[in-house]
Symmetry: C2
Subunit: 396 residues, 2 copies
Amino acid sequence: MAELGVLSDAAVLIGGDGRIAAVGPLEDVRRSAGAANVVEVSGVLFPGFVDCHTHAIFGAPRLADHERRARGETYQAIAAAGGGILSSVRDVRERDGSALLEATRRRLRVMLAHGTTTVEVKSGYGLATEAELKQLEVARAVANGRPDVIATFLGAHEVPEEVRSNRDAYVDAVIQEMLPAVRRQNVARFCDVFCEPGVFTTAQARRVLESARALGFGLKLHADELEPSGGAELAAALGAVSADHLAAISESGIRALAASETVAVLLPGTMLFLGRPAQAPARKLIDDGAAVALATDFNPGSSPGLSLPLVAMLGVSQLRMRPAEAIAAITVNAAAAVGEAGTRGQIAPGFRADLTLVAARDWRELPYWYGVNLVRGVWIGGAACHSLEGPLDLTD
Amino acid sequence: MAELGVLSDAAVLIGGDGRIAAVGPLEDVRRSAGAANVVEVSGVLFPGFVDCHTHAIFGAPRLADHERRARGETYQAIAAAGGGILSSVRDVRERDGSALLEATRRRLRVMLAHGTTTVEVKSGYGLATEAELKQLEVARAVANGRPDVIATFLGAHEVPEEVRSNRDAYVDAVIQEMLPAVRRQNVARFCDVFCEPGVFTTAQARRVLESARALGFGLKLHADELEPSGGAELAAALGAVSADHLAAISESGIRALAASETVAVLLPGTMLFLGRPAQAPARKLIDDGAAVALATDFNPGSSPGLSLPLVAMLGVSQLRMRPAEAIAAITVNAAAAVGEAGTRGQIAPGFRADLTLVAARDWRELPYWYGVNLVRGVWIGGAACHSLEGPLDLTD
């Protein structure tokens, strides 16, 4: 992860199929290019950023939760006051699908403007078949757009108010009703579960994920965010593409991920926004051989931030990742965490021509100038789809 | 600090002198306005943000320091490898004044684009009379511009390499040569000292600041960043406008600030970027009665970030400030920390018409959607000086 190929005075040749045909020194590529259109850019060209963990389909921001948390109220107290995940569930259930689509499109455009070319979005604010499908229909409506969207079914995000007393019955409903309905509509590629003591146990998560796998879904898992409960081990055992959060991962969880192909997706913005002291042990995960990706966790409760460059800065400053590791974590490794290891996240022949141009002289500026948007251009499948003018480079 | 006056469907009447003549409900202001030009805006209009602590006049970014810190190297090791403050000193000494001016102008424009209408900038990368004056001449050249600049002389930022062995002799030079030269050129309004064990003692800081006061400078102090050493107490005793950093402030320091007019300027972005676990005790400072401001500390070593909205988010999420306190901390209290309590930082009659328009429906969105720039317009002294188009609002 710490080795990054960096070229100067280089060119990328994009084929008619939207894939990268060649990459190398400008003169070499020019010689092989024939009658190509040439777009000259200055700055640093990265692989398009991949945000591999978001809950980007939601209605209103949860502004009151933020203030209550600052006052020291517990999540239980915030939920009792009408906040928490279930307030977003009420919102999504009541909101018209077209209004949800419009808000989502607008937010995805902001993600694009920050360099994200592929974004994973989860359902999980419906918690009933119809409302989960409403979210996933929004995801389908914005898919193959700008940025490109990969959808994950997260019916097991929380237990809805109406069946609070019977968590196992809700898990049954996820397995027997929701999963088959999502499969029939073909609106999600992955299935995810919020596995955490007090939410869904590892046994419940296993039931859901095994059922999902049997239906052909790829697997993801919210694991070990607050307490170690064997979530990472479960994700690795089931061959999930990713285990996400991991701030409280155990030693055996680290070993399990290191020995697997499952990507450890870390979400440092969430810990920052919640004001929690513990960040995931990125250094140990990497040093022990796990593949680590970083994502925003964009959602209205615990992480209303959507800038991957800021997350990369947090990777370096908070997680002690090297700058090169942080770049790999929002590109090649993030692509692997959404099942696109061989197709996105690298500037290399055969990969889709998803590119993000940054106003900088040195690639290390990306995770350095924090809190500003240095992205100046974005291409998806070779097509220019965002450019920002402005003298916003900060280097000397 | 927790009480914010919020008006809906309101208007601001700006006089020919660039000051606010009236503010109130739209219809009331319209009735009193006569033949005013009307500019209609939607969003939330804040007092222009005041960044009351920066080291914005520098040359190159210190990219290698960031990676070395992530690898666990100490500040001493980083300095020994050619990094640290003294590398910025070498850079500023060697760099042409016009190159320094150009880089500074560009960075200040980015600050403006993030809503900052007044910025305090310090010298301190010169550490010799001529080089300190070069930095302060840059500050003068950009003052009364956009954003407006208030300059602080920080000759006692560190001891330069050439006199490392004799710190007291350097303090003598600051007092006997630099302060009078800065006074003669009239290029700084405040004098500041980096008071910290291993850098300048409280006794040395007192000598510098008392000399500065005698020459008519206002006073500021870098205090108690890493260890409690009586810095806050000294700032209060000398009647400084601010005591800054304070991550390691003592109980007696808190009492001293609470009993004084000295503003506690907290810099949470620095602690974030450095990956330090301890943030300043904002909650206790506020609850005990101190005035708290927040600033970026924008500098190439420990805080290459210049977004005050992000700093306000850190105030809420990391320092447990209420959203209203965080807004006060980057406006009215920050104005007090640069000696402009009665003139800037409020939307009220008589105040300079410095205004920042944010794409939001609710003012609490500013410290919530973190890492994106929601600023859509900036006015200084009533003159429009920045506007950004784009569908970048994130609310539902």
